[in-house]
Each structure stands twice: as C-alpha cells, then as structure tokens.
C-alpha cells in the first residue's frame, strides 16, 4: 500500500529509489534542483544573463524533479536488437533522449518526449547555433570594425589566447583532441561556436561541454570587471583612446563587406560554412535594409532560439550529466579558457597602449573576448567607473565584432584539422 502511494508521485518515488540504489544520483538530483533555483535567482537579479538563465534554470529544475519509472526503450536506451527483459524498469523523463541515434528508437521517442522534435531538428544538428548566429549578425554594426580594422582584429586575436592555450592543457588532462578543441572554444566566449565545435568534434561529450560553456558565459558579465580591476591600474582605466578620423560608411559598403567576407571564409573553411553564412546573412539583411527580414531575425528567430536554447540546456542538465567523470575537468578547463582569453585581451590592450604612445585604454582589450555585446559593455562600465567622461564603446565594439570573426575562424581551423 505504501509503495503504491509513493509510486503515484513518480518524482519522489524515483528519488527514494535513487537514494536506496545509487545515492550519488539522489544527491546530484537534489543539487541540480537547488542550482536551478540559484540560476533563476541570479538571472532575475541580473548577475547572469536572464534570457538564458530563466528558461535554463526552469528546465533544469523540471528535468531533475520530473523523473519517473519507464521501460528502457521509452527512456531512450537503445537495445541494439537484443530483447529487453520483461518487467525491467529504469529512471527516465519525458523531455528528451540526447544520445539516441538508432532510427526506430528515435521515431519512437519523437512521439513520446515533448522536446525531442525541437532537440533533434534544431539542437543536435546545430541549427539553433546558426539561428542564434544569424541574430548576432543582425545586431552587428560592421562600421565599428571598418573605422579601425587592424587594431580591432589585433585585439581579437589576442583575446583568443584561452582558445588555443587551453588545448594542450586539456590534452595533458587526458581529453581526446576533439574534446580538447571543443572545451577550448569556451575561450572564444561564443556559445553557438562551442555548440557547433562539440557537435562536429566531440558528439558524445557535446551535452556537458555545451552546458559548461553556457554556464560560464553567463559569468563574463559578473567576473571580467574583477579581472580588469586586477590587471589595469585606475590611472590607465581613466585614459581616453586616441580618437580616430570619423568615417562616413554607407550601408552598401557594409553589405559589400558582408558578401565578400562570407564568400572568402566559406572558401577557406567549408566545414564552418553554415556558421559564416548565418552570421553574414544577418549582417547583409540589416545592411540591405530588409526591414521585415531584420525584424524576423532579430525579434522572432534570435529570441525564440535563445529561449529554446536555454530551455534545452536546462533539460540536458540531468543528474547523470554532472556524474560524468570528465565533468570536473571540463569545469576547470572552461573557466581557465575564459580567464586566459580575458588576460590575452588585456595584454593586447597593453600592446596597443604602448604602440600608440600611451594613448589607448588597455581595458578595451577585454571586449576582444567576443561575447557580443556583453564584454564591450563591461569595458565601458569599468572605464566609466574610473572616469565618467571617457567613452571607449566604439573601440570596444570594434574589437568585440572582430572577436566573433576570429572565433568563427578558429572554429573553422579546429574542425578542419581535427575532423
């Protein structure tokens, strides 16, 4: 009688079952639910990116609470043609089965798991990354880059330090080259790139890598100001940048750049062509003045994709994800990649400071870590705190946009060389 009452409330029954059979899963589920509450709280407070953290936190809480007893096929466990013993039950949810690949099982699960169609048709094939990238393209004004192309690109290259320096460390920690490249891409601070690289190079690990990446990307807004304060003295933070000659850049010139850059990048790195096309399509739509398309991409595709991206990332944060033995390494490597990229960007800022005869604010370098437009805002916020009359946002946005391009290039190089 007691058992049937308990089984009526499946989430509690599976929790009690986990406590008895596998206490690690029990504690992981409890921990993930508490973490989910924290993410929603920090998102609402503005410490972390609310657009991602609210759906992600809610999804994470739901997936760890809503576990029920299922037969293995319904839960997404493929039996590889072997008969499954009658009466065998396992713990599972009705959200998604991330690693299901066998056609029959996939078709079965598509009809059961409510988010499986979105996951399979948009997430696991990288479409959602491309849609988000299209939205980023619409937000980019390449005019900031056109005004100072070489200095912006130089900073962007410096801001990729973590993306390359983390790779050998990841190999040293025992990761496979594809996994090492995917986690190193966290240093580029571009979620869609990490998703795309891990799908291409480390398909089995793409769930934990992408989750770690997005958890950390939310930290750039909160963490980078401390890095700037630590590395840039207040006197230099208050320094204005040497003004550049104002340019009158027409939308036709920006459109020509988008078309040319997209073609050249696709020629060089066809494996990352979907990303390049998506990014520059966004830029082209904006500069061509296609208002209906711009509104569609910016208001519907970007925000719609971001919401489902956050929700699916939350849903993928099942207790099993954090019990993966590689998760601790990924957590360490992810934060290291972001830290090294931030340091690299500021080193680039210092090089610019000396190269321009001390007429460049080194804090602009942090914007080279391409979390558009978060890191550019961080640079301006820190500079404004030291000297409210100094505006570095145009320089910061130039480096920021170039950061997106260099991260896409690095994705292309890694995928081309390691695939």
């Amino acid at each position: 009688m007691n058992q049937s009452w308990l089984e009526m409330f499946g989430g509690i029954a599976t929790l009690a079952d986990a406590a008895r059979i596998n206490p690690a899963v029990f504690w992981a589920r409890i921990g993930m639910i508490l973490l989910a509450f924290l993410l929603v709280y920090l998102g609402k407070k503005g410490t972390l990116e609310p657009l991602l953290m609210i759906p992600m936190g809610l999804g994470m809480a739901a997936v760890n609470a809503g576990v029920l007893f299922l037969d293995p096929v319904t839960a997404g466990f493929v039996n590889n043609g072997e008969p499954i013993a009658e009466g065998v039950r396992t713990h599972g949810t009705l959200f998604v089965a991330p690693l299901v690949s066998e056609t029959n099982s996939l078709m079965n699960i598509m009809q059961i798991d409510f988010l499986q169609p979105i996951y399979t048709m948009m997430f696991s094939n990288g479409l959602i990354a491309c849609l988000v990238f299209m939205g980023i393209g619409v937000l980019l004004d390449v005019g900031f880059v056109l005004a100072r192309p070489y200095s912006s690109m130089f900073l962007a290259i410096a801001g990729e330090l973590g993306t390359v320096a983390t790779f050998p460390i990841a190999i040293l920690l025992g990761l496979a080259p594809g996994e090492a490249a995917a986690i190193s891409m966290v240093g580029g601070a571009d979620g869609p790139m990490v998703l795309f690289t891990s799908l291409m190079l480390a398909k089995d690990m793409f769930v934990p890598i992408t989750v770690v990446a997005y958890l950390y990307l939310g930290l750039t807004y909160g963490g980078y100001p401390y890095l700037i304060k630590f590395l840039v003295p207040k006197k230099l933070l208050a320094l204005p940048c040497k003004p550049v000659k104002p340019l009158r850049i027409t939308s036709s010139e920006k459109l020509a750049f988008a078309v040319l850059a997209c073609t050249v990048m696709c020629l060089l790195f066809p494996v990352a062509a979907p990303l390049f096309l998506s990014l520059f399509l966004g830029v082209a739509v904006r500069e061509a003045g296609l208002t209906y398309f711009t509104n569609l991409v910016e208001n519907v595709l970007l925000y719609g994709s971001t919401m489902f991206l956050g929700l699916l990332l939350g849903i993928l944060c099942e207790a099993g994800t954090i019990l993966n033995p590689k998760i601790f390494k990924l957590l360490v490597l992810g934060i290291l990649a972001l830290l090294l990229s931030g340091i690299g960007g500021i080193i680039g800022g210092y090089i610019m400071y000396f190269a321009t005869g001390r007429k460049y604010n080194p804090a602009v370098g942090i914007a080279a870590v391409s979390c558009v437009p978060t890191t550019a805002k961080v640079a301006q916020k820190c500079v404004s705190a030291a000297n409210p009359s100094v505006i570095v946002l145009p320089e910061a946005l130039g480096a920021n946009i170039c950061g997106v391009i260099t991260t896409a290039v690095l994705t292309g190089v890694y995928v081309t060389l390691l695939r």
Binding site: V142, V145, L146, P149, Y150, S152, M153, F154, A156, I157, E160, V164, A165, F167, P168, I169, A170, I171, L172, P177, A180, L247, I249, T250, S252, E253, A256, F257, L260, A261, V264, M265, L268, C402, I405, T406, V409, L410, V413, Y414, L417
Partner: protein, 41 residues
Amino acid sequence: MNWQDASLFALKVYGIAAVVSMAAAAVLHGTFKALSKLSKE
C-alpha cells in the same frame, strides 16, 4: 597526441587563425577603400 604535440598544434592553429583574421581585416579595409573611391568618382 601528447602535450608537446598538442602545444605545437595549438601554435599552428593560432598562427593560421591570426593570418586569416588579419587578411580578413585587410579585405575589409581594401573593400571599404575601393568602394569609397568608386562612389566618389
């Protein structure tokens, strides 16, 4: 792949990315200059 090979590989990746990115900046600058000249003429 050991960590020494990985370091060399990472340097190679960085080198290629730096060259391609600076080339992209040159393409950008060149396009802008050429188009500005054309529109003035």
